[in-house]
Symmetry: C2
Amino acid sequence: MFKKVLVADDLGSINLGVLTIAKTLGLNNVERVEYCDDAYLRIKKGILDKDPYDLLITDLSFKEDHRTQKYPSGEDLIKVLRKEIPNLKIIVYSIEDRLQKVRRLISQYNVNAYVCKGRKGLEELSKAVKEVYEDRVFTSQQVSQALTNKTTLDIDDFDILLLRNLALGKSQEEISLDFKQKKISPCSLSSIEKRLNKLKIQFSANNTIHLVAIGKDIGLI
Amino acid sequence: MFKKVLVADDLGSINLGVLTIAKTLGLNNVERVEYCDDAYLRIKKGILDKDPYDLLITDLSFKEDHRTQKYPSGEDLIKVLRKEIPNLKIIVYSIEDRLQKVRRLISQYNVNAYVCKGRKGLEELSKAVKEVYEDRVFTSQQVSQALTNKTTLDIDDFDILLLRNLALGKSQEEISLDFKQKKISPCSLSSIEKRLNKLKIQFSANNTIHLVAIGKDIGLI
DNA sequence: AACTTCATTACGGGTTTCCGGAATTACCTT
DNA sequence: AAGGTAATTCCGGAAACCCGTAATGAAGTT
């Protein structure tokens, strides 16, 4: 089984549950941190000391407090770790069950498991640890379609950027000018209109407000 | 100290932490449920059996699953309990720290404490139990301004209804017609425009899309 | 080089929204 | 009942958005 495990979660009570499960799995060397920055430092230190962690279990959202963080969210942490230490096993353990977000994490960062916090969360986490140890990918039942279902997969970064800009209150013309300045490929007002139209059809949104609201609901932006 | 306590939370691991804290506080009779409906039934049964609960600690958001619920959220549960059993002490223990939501809960339902799940969550919960036992209201530091700060208090149900309708993709004219049919007081297109303008100024939103996005972010809709 | 294809851009007219001001109505005070 | 204030409604022009079509441009094919 895994020799050295790190758990990153800012809720003390969650950590407590995870540590309990860990014991029953025969994980004897489990440490916990409450900040992503601490997680990063510990993992780097483990490598320097020739005693690296071989599993990270992390939440996605961490509350902000007085400590300013370099990696404020679990996603930031995963991003940098995947780049620097690609062979580290990572299990995400989060309340977040919106498919778009799960899909991004799995496809972009190749996390080894995605477990939803919930009534059966700890059981599933336990299963995930075993599966990941056998080099398989695990996802909770409720988000498993994130891997298979391709319905909204033809939404690219441009679409998200566009929606984010709209949600920030920019007009379509302002966005067009902004894109022109930043040399972002389709930058004409017409193209932006067309893209929005495509998105409205895909999400069956009545208008742009509806579209942005849906985008927020499903965790796209 | 409290004689009979019920904890409602769908995350097993959270419950574990809460139960641990409860013991250190000298609460010997603590039960837990994972669904709001179960909480309601137990509390009602307690009264019938002449052995009522005197404290409820509940989360706000419960995951949906195969079981269809009469009270799907903690807010629904609180609403009905406050109406039927006004003297029951209620502590909300939730990850939710958006002021608007907290404000609604405290002012509308008079919950006795609001504790944010977080790094110090369990400590604060412990403090909250003691305070509530002394008939005082407790709120976590980070949301304490929900009680004092009145900045956005002049937003009424009409505003929220309006924003919700917009987020659902209705045009302003459709909303106007809808309001006319439902006899909702200001229903003219012009009034709707004026109200939106007021909200845009209050939230310093550039346009309606921005306004709806902000509304979603702060938990207003 | 001519052709096809596809993405991007440009344009025009209709609709919705935005933003004043003015008129009307509702409600409260005296 | 008269008067005053605030909310609501009506109106009109400017701006933004919507939507279809046509023009342009950048590939790759033969």
